[in-house]
């Protein structure tokens, strides 16, 4: 068996990659993919903790996170498509009609 801590380290690495991706990338789609990476890092943590405690709770939570992520995908992609239709770009740096 692979020790639990390996899964946790992997999930922490995935979460950090996701968070850095959100901060560093400028393409709205890739930012969104990074967010999904963060959610899935949490999912990995949930199932590995569920295994540690020998509970089903953690695994059930993952179902909810997946379902919510799908709802987010639907709304997020719709927004990205709408932006692309009117601006022909999804670069977040080019969103300057609102001055920061």
């Amino acid at each position: 068996m692979v020790p639990e801590i390996y899964y946790l380290v992997l999930s922490a690495i995935l979460f950090t990659m996701g968070a850095l991706g959100v901060l560093a990338r400028r393409n709205a789609l890739i930012i969104f993919m990074s967010v999904e990476l963060m959610l899935n890092a949490a999912n990995l943590a949930f199932v590995s903790f569920a295994n540690t405690y020998q509970q089903l709770n953690g695994q059930i939570i993952v179902f909810f996170v997946i379902a919510v992520a799908a709802a987010e995908v639907a709304v997020g992609l719709a927004l990205i498509v709408a932006i692309f239709k009117s601006k022909h770009s999804i670069d977040v740096d080019q969103m300057s009609s609102l001055k920061g």
Binding site: M1, I60, F63, I66, A67, A70, A71, V73, A74, L77, A78, V81, K85
Partner: protein, 118 residues
């Protein structure tokens, strides 16, 4: 511990060896003729043209989003189906409520014309 993985490791090694033998024998004994048709992407199909990444109509995208939404909800059916007998009538009502909520979304998408192709 690691002992459990030996079977899988053996399988992987065997699969690689078998594949290598098959390719190697073909290289060794097979006839080699070089001609133009042989080097085309699809030897007996249409010649591909244009860039590889073509734009898709937005309609595909709408269908895809609807598919994601209704598809993912199936994850809740699976655990429900497994413990269906223990849950009894209560489980049935609970799932009926869940499906009713999905149905609201479905009727909405339908009436809004999201399912129309043209």
């Amino acid at each position: 511990m690691l002992f459990e993985y030996i079977a899988i490791a053996t399988l992987i090694v065997l699969a690689v060896i078998v594949a290598l033998i098959a390719i190697g024998l073909g290289e060794l004994f097979g006839p080699k003729k070089k001609m133009e048709e042989k080097s085309m992407p699809y030897e007996s199909g249409m010649t591909p043209y244009g860039p590889g990444t073509r734009r898709m109509p937005v309609r595909f995208y709408l269908i895809a989003v609807l598919f994601i939404l209704f598809d993912i909800e199936v994850v809740f059916f699976l655990p429900w189906a497994i413990v269906f007998r223990q849950l009894g009538l209560f489980g049935l009502i609970e799932m009926a409520v869940f499906i009713a909520i999905l149905l609201v979304g479905y009727i909405y998408a339908w009436k809004k014309g999201a399912l129309e192709w043209e």
